[in-house]
Symmetry: C2
Subunit: 451 residues, 2 copies
């Protein structure tokens, strides 16, 4: 029995717990029948064998900050909460890597490695609450992905438990490894459907000596989009190019008591540069010039680390602020080829007009990865229905723009019905066979990714 | 019939052709029964269906420059040579990407994109002869992988044909994509055992405005190794840190009529920096100081592009020069965590002494990825046997150093017997199930990777 494996004090079956573990940041889901909190890899393997033998759905949960329901059951079963496996096991300054248990919080790891002059680039807006294991499961990105890439670029090796109970180790501590199939990269972004990650070895880089952040203010969204195009055309590659539209600015103003920019600002770009002082100065100069050339109202440089952090904390407040509107926030993280951001915003304008919805958009413009939030009042007649229609049109348009329906958040169960918009029947059938190669009985996170 | 698919003029069955297509740079292999040269994806799919129906081994071949036999049959069958699919289809300056057919030569692509101010970093020593399709199949690296990563970091999307004939498209032109399993990354490095890549979409970056190359000369290998450690410790991350040992220097001197460094030089480091002029100047200064601090005899800076290219062309001549010794060159590309390069060279010294072999070592020291060449005179009594013993000990030591038996060249059939040194039985069994998910009848490149 599972109690014998982890101890009674690490099993929950009370209604409040089951309700709590039946939801993540999506705010939907189904309560599990049991919540189990293992202490180590052997306990994880024992629980997996038990679930596999009994054909019990097994859903792995990190910090529960996901937006697509990846960490919650669709039909009961057992939630394996990794919350007790939360230690930084090793920060190796010689080999520039860290070894962590899955529930280390991203921000805690960043602070720990920066303390010794190293740097872990992936910085999802949830960095102070999301876990490395969850970041690996979804392949989390963040603003700095523009220059540094997403989580997958930093995962060197994984220890994982197969749903049938075998413990595997993928990759190695070497930065190159072509021995056999790249199971490490296959597991990153697999949303807990293939294996249970129990240990993560991450590549680190030297901390950039200098960072600088610019806030560019525009009269309207078009100005900001033109600036993004100008930066791409001029081949300026700072660390981050973030865009915030007027609806998002309004939400921050109304619900945080703070503001990015004076009223009348229709959109802002947040651009961060890092590296040597000389390189940063040159980047900032080119960024400011590009923004002014396309008609920025104002371009301001954060004077110090405090002001930098204020800007980025506001950026991270966007999602909470939109939630605080009281409207239902249907959050999509569509992505298009970076040069097609103007076309994506044309689609967003079309959706606003055609469906009479409030749509707040912000995000990683440099990557073509925009968080498009359909803001819905469930009480208002047919607004939910209109949002559903708008959602499908958005996804269709993004695929037509040679983009993808998710750049960071994954599919979970929320987007599973739309998988066929982007993948062919042959591709989905192949993914099902890959899934079966790992999980012959389909116990691991059923109902996710594949409809 | 296959002739009906590609036309008689694109099928070879004559003995010289079969012999030629039965070898790659490894110099071993088995001749195919037939060589087929398709013109497009549809022809590839038709040939695959035919082979699958007849259970005929199907071996995909690019430029045949691989070192582990990945492109040659182990037991006859059909070689599908991609040589006619060699067009650059698209260089997209707005979205910073290129779309190519598999047999575009790496160096041709580099020159083409640099012509419009863009940059494709992966630079295997074979860049003037190896194909992008082959680079993708093996996940090729090269000196610049130290700063820029290997091929996998640049592959955004693939068109591929399954051995059962379905045409799939993985990834997208967006730089982020987490829709379903990352089949793109799974196919990169899969050595033609899972699918036949017919189109590659590559991410490009802006061309670094400046490059500079330093040649540091040391009295012995220890000095060069100490310099690598110093650079890692000081967190200097130039574009490339290459090491060349005395046996390799000797081979260049004796067989190319050129030389890296005056006689008496026991080892050299080639360090390249790129970026803005200011950043390059700073990097070069730190590199030179680090090399002098550990006792470099001489540190010289290439004065211009011509001198830079001389240094790099010599670097690329190392393998041909070692081949020209007339000895059999058993080439291994082992990799260790970057800080453990000194321990790896201690192992190499031990092997030289213990087995009385000439061992020439050079390569990507910054990545911990060293090409260890056992130089064998097959005529000399039991030298081949001693090399076999040395090879196994080398692999065992590398795994003990938390490294990997291959960083770039892959497993093919040459290293397949050693897979179990690095991977557990459970891991190999899982890889076999993944293989079966793509290739149920096992027709694609049989005998490769998995013993």
């Amino acid at each position: 029995m599972v109690v014998a494996i982890v101890g009674a004090e690490h099993v929950r079956a009370d209604a409040p717990s089951l309700a709590a573990y039946g939801q993540d940041a999506l705010g939907q889901g189904h309560p599990p029948d049991l919540v189990v909190m293992p202490a180590n890899t052997q306990e994880v393997a024992a629980v997996a064998r038990l679930c596999n033998a009994g054909r019990v759905p097994l859903v792995v949960r990190g910090a529960g900050t996901g937006y697509t329901g990846g960490a919650v059951p669709t039909s009961g079963g057992l939630v394996l909460s990794m919350e007790r496996m939360n230690r930084i096991l090793e920060i190796d300054e010689v080999n520039l890597l860290a070894v962590v248990e899955p529930n280390v919080i991203n921000g805690d790891l960043q602070r720990a490695v920066e303390g010794v002059g190293l740097f872990y680039p992936p910085d999802p807006a949830s960095l102070d609450t999301s876990s490395i294991g969850g970041n690996v499961a979804e392949c989390a990105g963040g603003p700095r992905a523009f220059k540094y890439g997403t989580t997958k670029r930093y995962v060197l090796a994984l220890e994982a438990v197969l749903p049938t109970g075998e413990i595997i180790e993928t990759g190695s501590k070497a930065v190159k490894n072509v021995v056999g199939y790249d199971l490490t990269q296959l597991l990153v972004g697999s949303e807990g459907t293939l294996a249970i990650v129990t240990k993560v070895t991450l590549r680190l880089i030297p901390k950039p000596p200098t960072q600088a952040t610019v806030l560019a203010m525009f009269a309207d969204i078009q100005g900001a989009v033109d600036a993004v195009s100008a930066l791409i055309q001029r081949r300026v590659v700072p660390a981050a190019i973030e865009l915030v539209d007027d609806d998002s600015l309004r939400a921050v103003r109304e619900h945080t008591g703070q503001e990015f920019a004076p009223p009348g600002t229709g959109a802002v770009l947040i651009v961060e540069a890092d590296g040597t002082q000389a390189a940063v100065d040159e980047d900032i100069d080119r960024v400011a010039r590009a923004c002014r050339d396309v008609g920025a109202m104002r371009v301001t440089l954060a004077v110090d680390a405090v002001e930098r952090e204020q800007i980025w904390s506001l950026r991270r407040l966007l999602s909470p602020a939109l939630k605080a509107t009281g409207l239902k926030k249907i959050n999509h993280d569509v992505v298009v080829p970076r040069g097609r951001v103007p076309e994506l915003f044309a689609v967003i304008q079309e959706l606003k007009a055609r469906y009479g919805l409030r749509v707040a958009s912000f995000g990683h413009a440099g990557d073509g990865n925009i968080h498009v939030n359909l803001m819905v009042n469930p009480a208002a007649a047919d607004e939910t229905a209109r949002a559903k229609d708008a959602e499908r049109v958005l996804f269709e348009r993004v695929v037509a723009l040679e983009g993808s329906i998710s750049g960071e958040h994954g599919i979970g169960f929320a987007k599973a019905p739309y998988l066929g918009l982007e993948l062919s029947a042959d591709e989905i059938a192949l993914m099902k066979r890959v899934k079966a190669a790992f999980d012959p009985n389909g116990i691991l996170n059923p109902g996710k990714i594949i409809p």
